[in-house]
């Protein structure tokens, strides 16, 4: 058994020249069969494995990861955690996640550096301010924290922000969720991996699923680059790769498009901004990491892609919006950019469900909001897998909601994934 992490263990190990640290998770070979196979060693898959073991006592579980653990969106996002949604189904689910975040470092004995530094949505017209008020009030009526801020309050919080009337889109106010914040993205994957591993879950990297084993309709396992593996239940949590994996199972079409989302980080700076802030007259969000880099992004590129690379128009757009808010950053430099593949759903909300085939369970449709959902997604998916029915929190997130007209469309954009 691996040692607990603590200040004491750090000191004790340091005195021994850090020679005694053990791997954070084992690197086992796959067994011939498991109770549950989870395809996808990202945040959601690992969290699902962790909660299957911890909450449901199901430990004969394998997490299969095509590349290295956490190589997908859990390591490619802008790390914001919030539950400031408009529609009740989303608010309830993300608030459940938020509550789990608040205790996650203890839960995992791994510091995921969740820092509740707040998330501020800037409003630029009175109509938009009313819209934000509607959302904030919706949150408050579900017991979630939200408050409105005046431009003067905002200026005190973020001195570098241009709130002048001469701005092309002046700031008229903002919606603040103080309990929102940021976390260290990789640590979430590593912490769940270590936690699941400690409970007996096999985490198998460099193991690509190449097909599904079937008994009639029923899914009975998977074929992989490391051999066939059977399981009573096969769960899919592959985010941007959902289309690819479901195609292997013979499901050709889904209410999902995979799009590329770029994100950016500047060179490291002394403290510049303390909260997550979003721009209301476009699509831009930014926070500052503990290392000092400004982490920011905007819209998806807007076309199907699995390439994990984007193109220049979004780069230009994001930087332009950034300077509209923070004109002092013109001489700061963008250090790194990257692309993640987002599973954009038809209403902007996720899918956590049994099916669509017998023996299969599906978790997808995270658009570009999956990181903050990680704890609740894993928790609800584990519940759904263990009990063969959804928890109340994920009951609305079915696959058939589109056909039935029960969409959960926070942005009101309809079946147009690039606009969610």
């Amino acid at each position: 058994m691996m040692a607990e992490y603590s200040a004491f263990s750090l000191l004790a190990n340091a005195l021994k020249g850090n020679k005694d640290w053990k791997p954070a998770w084992r690197k086992p070979d796959p067994k011939a069969s498991y109770d549950v196979i989870i395809i996808g060693g990202g945040g959601h898959g690992l969290a699902t494995a962790y909660y299957l073991a911890k909450e449901h006592g199901i430990t004969n579980v394998a997490v299969l990861e095509k590349g290295w653990l956490g190589s997908g969106n859990v390591g490619r996002n802008t790390t914001a955690v919030r539950s400031n949604y408009l529609l009740p189904a989303n608010t309830r689910f993300y608030e459940h996640s938020m509550k789990m975040w608040e205790n996650l470092s203890h839960e995992l004995n791994y510091n995921v550096m969740f820092s509740q530094r707040g998330c501020l949505n800037l409003a630029h017209t009175p109509a938009q301010f009313d819209d934000y008020a509607r959302r904030g009030n919706a949150m408050r009526h579900l017991g979630v924290d939200a408050e409105l801020m005046t431009p003067a309050q905002i200026k005190r919080l973020i001195p570098a922000l241009d709130i002048s009337d001469s701005a092309r889109f002046p700031v008229v106010g903002g919606l603040m969720q103080r309990r929102a914040g940021t976390a260290r993205h990789d640590a979430v994957a590593w912490g769940y991996a270590r936690g699941a591993d400690r409970r007996g879950v096999d985490i198998i990297e460099n193991c690509e699923v190449t097909g599904f084993l079937r008994d009639g309709d029923r899914v009975t396992g998977v074929t992989t680059s490391r051999g066939d593996i059977r399981a009573r239940k096969v769960a899919v949590a592959v985010a941007g790769s959902t289309g690819r994996v479901m195609q292997l199972a013979g499901v050709e079409t889904m209410p999902i498009e995979s799009h590329v989302l770029q994100a950016f980080v500047t060179e490291s700076l002394k403290p510049f901004i303390d909260t997550v802030v979003t721009f209301g007259m476009g699509h831009f969000y930014m926070s500052q990491s503990d290392k000092g880099g400004l982490i920011y992004g905007g819209d998806i590129d807007g076309y199907n892609s699995y390439a994990q690379r984007g193109n220049l128009p979004i780069v230009d757009e994001v930087m332009s919006e950034m300077l509209a808010l923070f004109p002092g950053l013109a001489r700061v430099r963008m250090l790194r950019s990257w692309g993640g593949v987002c599973d954009m759903s038809m209403d902007g909300s996720p899918i956590i469900t049994t099916g669509p085939l017998p023996g299969m369970y599906l978790n997808c449709g995270w658009c570009y909001g999956g990181f903050k959902a990680t704890p609740a997604s894993g928790w609800c998916f584990a519940w759904t897998i263990a009990k063969d029915q959804p928890h109340d929190f994920n009951a609305p997130f079915t696959l058939d909601r589109f056909h039935r007209g029960l969409v959960i469309d926070d942005k009101g954009q309809g079946a147009n994934p690039r606009l969610h």
Binding site: A160, P327, G328, A330
Partner: protein, 1002 residues
């Protein structure tokens, strides 16, 4: 002794003295100096502090890959942090300061972090700071308390908040051949391509073209290489098919040979020229690309390798040959390859004494021994440096016998006195752009380097050819041959002109010994800026973070501002050794844009300070001149109110709305989307697009229409006018004009290509003025000629053409305000003329101008819907517009609008609200059955729009409420905890005012 300026040599102009300051102290340098070379010439050895341990650091390099010497450049209030001193060209008045130190660079309090070295190992954050599980610091509090201090200690330079007055621009360029890098390979490629008549662009991140020719000391075609380069550049400059871009970093390689480059146009000037940008962002679409980006020298990893005075070998050669600066007087070299021997000779020639060449290889070649003799340097073959000595400057080093077969150190340590130690750990080709373009690098065991794949290889969306050191061909002779071949091929040429330039160079084996690290006691740095040591890499290995991405993320190796340009391969090598695997099995890093950091200003370019264009109606200037307060609606500006002195917004709109209902008001409606729908199938098309029928509409009449989306939800509404049998003028809401246009185009192009219909945006063709109120008709009658406007000629929803003040107009009688109202359309260029004529005509009748607020008030009183209600989640039924859903024909959305979720009984429906406490309501407030101010819950809906209604004398609102219609006549409460507004309301029909429309029908 210390670094100093030599008497001769280099590109600098010793006759031009330049004055600048660094950390407040005045310095002088010469034209052609970088900040690094100028300070080095003055004996400065300390340039920065490392990120984590705040260790003192000197210059490691002379170029873009510099990890240590980062400075902030100040222009008044405007700050430019984290710039490598090696990339700052000095100019008079330059002000630079060091960063990440307190109180000063020499004495930095946070250097105390070094004492915690073993505890602050890689990944230590993840293992601690979690805090207690119970008590006041549970949850996230303890971490956030610690984080507060961590954040303040972290970070490099500071960003400012003052707006940068500089100008940034974008340039779109097209060329046949883009050559990246202007060393001998790049120059030859550019010349060869240009000779073929191709449109050529040549970019180099340095101010001077020539690359290694500027400092190699070699001879090309009998002339010093630097002169050859200058001559070649002059030839290129003279051609009009060549664009030269010095100071231009090509930083991004995107799809289909789109490359992004940053030109530093005026950073090196005291003042930019009038209208001259500071940075220009080149978006280059190149038919083909020649990558001649050279190679980066690698440091060796050994204890004390970060002490100021330890530098890369070629950097010293550059300082000596290019800038006329000696980095030390007594110089030692430590190498695993031949290239350092040339450096030894160069430094000797420049006037330094070379005290030792420490070579890990047991038997340097005879040629190298000859070079060492020329440099009068003693060779310590089969030795390694195991320590360095000194404080903030180097004083000496220790070496020991080294067996490169097993890495063992034997024998007694020996000390050598030196003030500068140069290291060379081999060379890594600069493959970043190729990697961005999707090329997978291949490990070459001989070169001990990742090389780009074969230059002939084609990529699906990128077409590049490599040349020179980029391909692993490190000699100038090879670079010249490959450069010319690449240039020819890129331009599609095949001819082979006469002789290639001849090169005289010192000999050297391009293959280094496979030695990356000397394992001895002490901190050996791999990533200098982030303080990642060889032990950190091994710790990552022990904890299972062994894939290259895990290594990077766990230790932060290669994540600093230099992005691992020098540390990447040594880090991989150490991990490979720990794993007992060859280097390529650890993985290769996929490089992503940018190659080097890019100013955000340049990326925003012309939109910095001007994010979006302003869209103005024809009467915009009139509104401003007549006291309007403007409201930004999308890109448009519209009058919100025409306030009188001392009036509040509410007083103004109440006055305007009241006056309109009492006599008449006029409002600018030019922003409404207008689309010409023309063609023989126009009517049939509109029947499919709208839920209601348009083919039955008579010419000269208008009809209100509703559109759904394919999924059956409401999309947009507006009136459409039939101007002719095959000619319709559709109006849309201001916000949705573009979306509706695209919607129509999609259906015509993709779904119904058989329909003969053209749609054209004519929003800007027409100025629109809506004039309404009991006296509106009289006002029109007073100014319209050529037609009557009486009820017979111009009935409700009728259209007439006439003239106002000599200008043709089109008038449609329709109403949004609920009053007898008319929309008067004229050519946009005549908009103000007609507007003024109407106002003149209205004077005797008490006509007032009104803005969006009064417009909104009157529409709320009437219960009309807008974007606040058609919010993408509501159906026609929700909005009580189901009377418009034709049952006689299918239309877009008709098949999907009756799904179970869209007809459920608990949907939000449009209602009216009246505040029973007579206090103002707020947009976005929620509605509850039972008030609970302390613990709000049980929302049944929300307010979409609200106002004080002058017509009703009450505070009213429109709202979407669950099962709304069934609640008419019942009571509920507004619950607005955000603004602490709670109170009773009555739920009523959304048609508050004149529900039977007697006023507008008149």
């Amino acid at each position: 002794m210390s670094p100093r300026r030599t008497d001769t040599g280099g590109r600098i102009d010793r006759l031009k003295t330049i004055r600048f300051t660094f950390d407040g102290a005045a310095y002088t340098g010469h034209a052609g100096d970088t900040l690094a070379s100028a300070l080095l010439a003055k004996g400065v050895t300390l340039y920065g502090r490392s990120f984590k341990y705040h260790r003192p650091r000197g210059l490691l390099t002379a170029g873009v890959e510099e990890p240590n010497a980062l400075v902030t450049v100040l222009k008044g209030e405007v700050r430019e942090p984290n710039i490598p001193a090696t990339m700052v060209e000095i100019h008079d008045g330059l002000v630079a300061i060091s960063q990440n130190r307190f109180p000063s660079l020499a004495w930095d309090i946070n250097a105390v972090n070094q004492l915690g070295g073993k505890i602050l190992s890689a990944g230590f954050y993840y293992k601690t700071f979690m805090g207690p599980v119970i008590g006041p610091l549970k949850g996230t509090r303890f971490w956030m308390f610690c984080e507060h201090f961590i954040r303040r200690a972290a970070g490099l330079g500071s960003a400012g908040s003052a707006k940068d007055p500089a100008r940034y621009e974008r340039m779109n360029a097209f060329c046949d051949v883009l050559v990246v890098g202007s060393g001998p390979a790049g120059l030859m490629a550019a010349k060869a391509a240009a000779d073929q008549g191709a449109r050529v662009m040549l970019a180099d991140l340095e101010p001077r073209f020539g690359g290694s020719a500027n400092w190699s000391g070699e001879t090309i075609d009998g002339a010093p290489a630097a002169d050859w380069a200058r001559r070649t550049v002059a030839q290129l400059e003279a051609r009009d098919n060549v664009r030269l871009l010095p100071r231009t970093t090509v930083w991004g390689y995107y799809d289909n040979n789109t490359l992004a480059a940053l030109e530093r146009v005026s950073d090196h000037k005291e003042q930019p020229g009038k209208g001259e940008p500071r940075h220009r962002y080149w978006a280059i679409r190149a038919r083909s690309v020649v990558l001649a980006t050279g190679a980066f020298e690698r440091p060796l990893v050994f204890p004390g390798n970060d002490r100021p005075g330890v530098m890369l070998a070629h950097a010293a050669e550059r300082y000596a040959n290019e800038f006329g600066v000696l980095p030390g007087e007594r110089i030692a070299l430590f190498t695993n390859n031949d290239s350092a021997y040339r450096t030894a000779v160069a430094l000797k020639k420049a006037g330094a004494s070379v005290v030792a060449i420490v070579d890990v290889r047991p038997e340097p070649s005879a040629e190298m021994r000859k070079l060492a003799a020329e440099a009068e340097a003693e060779i310590f073959a089969g030795h390694a440096v195991i320590a360095t000595e000194g404080g903030k400057a180097l004083s000496g080093l220790k070496l020991q016998r080294f067996d490169m077969a097993n890495g063992s150190l034997t024998g007694d340590a020996r000390s050598i006195h030196a003030d500068c130690l140069l290291m060379s750990g081999g060379w890594s080709p600069t493959i970043h752009l190729a990697s961005q373009a999707g090329a997978k690098a291949e490990w070459n065991a001989a070169r001990q380097a990742f090389l780009p794949p074969k230059p002939t290889q084609q990529w699906p969306t990128q077409h590049w050819i490599g040349a020179g050191a980029f391909t692993g061909s490190f000699s100038t002779t090879e670079a010249i041959a490959e450069g010319r071949a690449a240039g020819l091929a890129a331009a599609g040429g095949t001819s082979t002109p006469a002789a290639l330039p001849t090169v005289e160079a010192v000999p050297g084996d391009p293959d280094p010994a496979p030695v990356f690290e000397i394992r001895a006691k002490g901190k050996s740095f791999v990533d200098f800026q982030h303080d990642v040591t060889a032990e950190d890499v091994r710790l990552a290995h022990r904890e299972g973070f062994v894939s290259v991405e895990h290594l990077k993320r766990y230790t932060t190796l290669g994540m600093a501002t230099d992005q691992g340009k020098s540390s990447n391969v040594p880090g991989l090598a150490i991990m490979a050794e720990a794993l007992g695997k060859p280097i390529p099995e650890v993985g290769t890093t996929r490089f992503r844009p940018p190659f080097a950091p890019v100013s955000i200003g340049s990326l925003a370019a012309e939109r910095f300070g001007d994010l979006k264009p302003e869209r103005l109606t024809p009467m915009h200037d009139w509104h401003l001149a007549n006291g309007a307060t403007m409201y930004s609606a999308g890109l448009w500006y519209r009058p919100m109110i025409y306030g009188h002195a001392g009036e509040t917004v509410e007083q103004a709109y109440v006055r305007e709305a009241k006056a309109t209902r009492d006599s008449a008001g006029i409002v600018d409606v030019s922003t409404l989307g207008k689309i010409a729908v023309q063609g023989p199938d126009a009517a049939a098309f509109l029947d499919r697009v709208y839920t209601n029928m348009f083919s039955t509409l008579a010419v000269g009449k208008a009809r209100y229409g509703l559109m759904l989306r394919e999924d059956g939800l409401a999309f947009d509404d507006g009136t459409t006018w039939r101007l002719g049998e095959q000619d319709f003028l559709m109006t849309t809401t201001t916000a949705n004009a573009g979306k509706v246009m695209q919607h129509l185009e999609y259906f015509l192009d993709v779904i119904w290509p058989e329909l003969k219909v053209h749609v054209t945006s004519v929003t800007d063709e027409w100025a629109g003025a809506a004039i309404g109120g009991p006296k509106a008709r009289q006002i029109l009658a007073a100014c319209v000629t050529g037609t009557s406007v009486d009820n017979a000629t111009l009935p409700f929803m009728g259209i007439v053409r006439g003239e106002i003040s000599g200008v043709p107009v089109m008038i449609c009688r329709l109403s949004f305000s609920g009053e007898m109202a008319f929309e008067v359309y004229s050519g946009a260029g005549h908009g103000t003329h007609v507007w003024e004529a109407l106002i003149e005509a209205g004077k005797p009748f008490g006509l007032i101008t009104y803005g969006l607020e009064a417009l909104g008030t009157m529409r709320i009183e009437k219960g009309h819907v807008t974007g606040a209600e058609i919010d993408g989640r509501t159906t026609a039924r929700d909005l009580h517009l189901d009377w418009m859903l034709s049952k006689k024909k299918p239309f877009i959305g008709s098949a999907m609008m009756d799904r179970e979720g869209l007809i459920a009984s608990d949907r939000l429906e449009l209602v009216g609200l009246i505040a029973l406490d007579n206090r103002p309501l707020n947009g976005g407030a929620h509605i509850v059955e039972q008030l609970d101010e302390a613990n709000p819950h049980g929302s049944i809906g929300h307010i979409t729009a609200c106002c004080y209604s002058p017509a009703l004398g009450k505070h009213i609102a429109l709202a979407l409420v669950k099962g709304g219609k069934a609640r008419h006549g019942t009571r509920a409460n507004v619950s607005d905890p955000l603004r602490n507004r709670f109170g009773p309301v009555e739920i009523v029909s959304n048609h508050f005012f004149d529900p039977d429309g007697s006023r507008m029908h008149g």
